[in-house]
């Protein structure tokens, strides 16, 4: 048990946490009856993925992906050692996750708008009640 912990969990701690957060999110998306709670689950789910991406770009002891001006000018002058790639975090996951965050915000906005309309039409946000009321509907399509 201890060796498993040392070999499988500790070096990949962030990834274990991400999986657990993701499971919490996914569970509430599927199991919760309230539409807003579903959306909260969806947001948790998406946030877990952000954690995955950001974790995989981490370098031990590295700083933010912004190059020091002095070092940058030195490297332009031909000093190849001026920028140490191991000391700068991987910028690509940050870029990708900026996109994913924006997508998440956009989706959440649209989802909330839909919730408002559903509440206006059916007077409830509980999924089973909404489905019941839909069955009773005879409006034209």
């Amino acid at each position: 048990m201890e060796t498993f912990f040392k070999e499988a969990v500790v070096p990949h701690f962030n990834f274990w946490i991400y999986v657990i957060i993701m499971m919490i999110g996914l569970w509430s998306v599927i199991a919760k009856n309230n539409l807003i709670k579903k959306l909260i689950g969806l947001s948790i789910f998406q946030t877990a993925i952000l954690l995955l991406y950001v974790s995989l770009g981490v370098k031990e002891g590295a700083t933010i992906p912004i190059i020091d001006h002095h070092a940058a000018e030195l490297s332009l002058a031909g000093d190849a050692a001026a920028i140490n790639p191991d000391a700068i975090a991987n910028p690509v996951p940050h870029v990708l996750m900026l996109t994913a965050i924006v997508v998440g915000v956009a989706t959440l906005g649209v989802a909330l708008a839909l919730c408002q309309v559903i509440y206006k039409d059916f007077g409830t946000l509980e999924e089973d009640e909404v489905l019941q009321k839909i069955k009773a509907l005879h409006d034209d399509v």
């Binding site: 499988a8 070096p11 990949h12 701690f13 962030n14 990834f15 274990w16 999986v19 657990i20 993701m22 499971m23 996914l26 569970w27 599927i30 199991a31 009856n33 974790s55 995989l56 770009g57 981490v58 370098k59 031990e60 002891g61 590295a62 933010i64 992906p65 912004i66 190059i67 020091d68 001006h69 940058a72 490297s75 332009l76 920028i83 790639p85 191991d86 700068i88 991987n90 910028p91 690509v92 996951p93 940050h94 870029v95 900026l98 996109t99 924006v102 997508v103 915000v105 956009a106 989706t107 906005g109 649209v110 909330l112 708008a113 839909l114 408002q116 309309v117 206006k120």
Partner: protein, 267 residues
């Protein structure tokens, strides 16, 4: 209950598959991991290339900004389009237009919608504070947009702050105050202008026979020394476009959601 059992099974399977893969991962924080340093047999690692050459290529020290708006600028164009789409979709879903003024759900307090910052002495402290704060927020937001080349920031972050400044007006006074300064017609127009700026700056190189998003082609147009500076300016132009779109759509989302699409009354 059935849903919960089903959810538990589905989640358990998903989690098990993901954890099954986790042990195969490179160690957390390893600078030699494939994501950080590439693998043998593939192209040289893009990540290392960015770290070593971005400043040479674009004169932008902030790698995230440079990759976002130049190397992967095509992605970011569609990211902006996603924001714009969200605004349009919320409008399409929620907006109640004048021809169906619903008598069913009148605003609980008709007076509330007509209050302005000046008219309501209960809110005077909040109102005055926000009046002072809003310009400061906006100036800082513009700084964030413009300084994205050198520090964390850029169009999305600055745009959200600009949007927040208008939301602050709406929260401290009433939505009417905010809409008087930033009406519906103008925020839709500004959101389109934002994308137009982005797509336009990205499109211009085509006129010079270069590829889409290749800002280096704008060297002559901008009168810069080299292609690097042209890229740097191109990135700035693009960020500005992003900021416009994000600002407008953030405010639009707030205005529509807080009034259930009526743009009257509100919080």
């Amino acid at each position: 209950m059935k849903a919960k059992i089903f959810a538990s099974i589905a989640v358990a399977i998903t989690g098990a598959v993901l954890l099954y893969a986790v042990t195969d991962f490179p160690n957390f924080g390893d600078p030699r991991s494939p994501a950080n340093a590439g693998v043998e047999g593939g192209s040289p690692s893009a990540s290392l290339y960015y770290i070593e050459n971005t400043y040479r290529d674009t004169k932008v020290p902030n790698l995230v900004t440079a990759i976002l708006a130049d190397y992967r600028g095509y992605d970011t164009l569609f990211e902006t389009v996603v924001i714009f789409t969200a605004g349009m979709a919320i409008f399409a879903i929620l907006r109640v237009l004048r021809n169906e003024n619903a008598p069913s759900a009148p605003s609980p307090d008709p007076e509330a919608s007509n209050r302005t910052i000046d008219g309501d002495h209960h809110r005077i402290i909040v109102g005055i504070t926000c009046r002072i704060a809003v310009p400061l927020v906006q100036i800082f937001a513009l700084y964030v947009v413009a300084h994205g080349h050198h520090s964390p920031g850029g169009g999305f972050q600055g745009g959200v702050m600009l949007g927040a400044s208008f939301i602050l007006i709406a929260l401290s006074g009433s939505l009417r105050d905010a809409l008087a300064r930033f009406s519906e017609a103008s925020y839709i127009r500004l959101a389109s202008i934002g994308i137009l700026i982005y797509a336009g700056v990205a499109f211009l190189p085509l006129v010079f026979g270069r590829n889409f998003v290749d800002y280096g082609a704008l060297k002559g147009l901008l009168g810069t020394d080299g292609e690097e500076m042209a890229r740097s300016h191109g990135i700035f132009g693009v960020e500005l476009g992003v900021a416009f779109t994000v600002m407008s759509i953030m405010f639009a989302i707030f205005a529509n959601l807080s009034t259930r699409g009526r743009l009257k009354g509100g919080l």
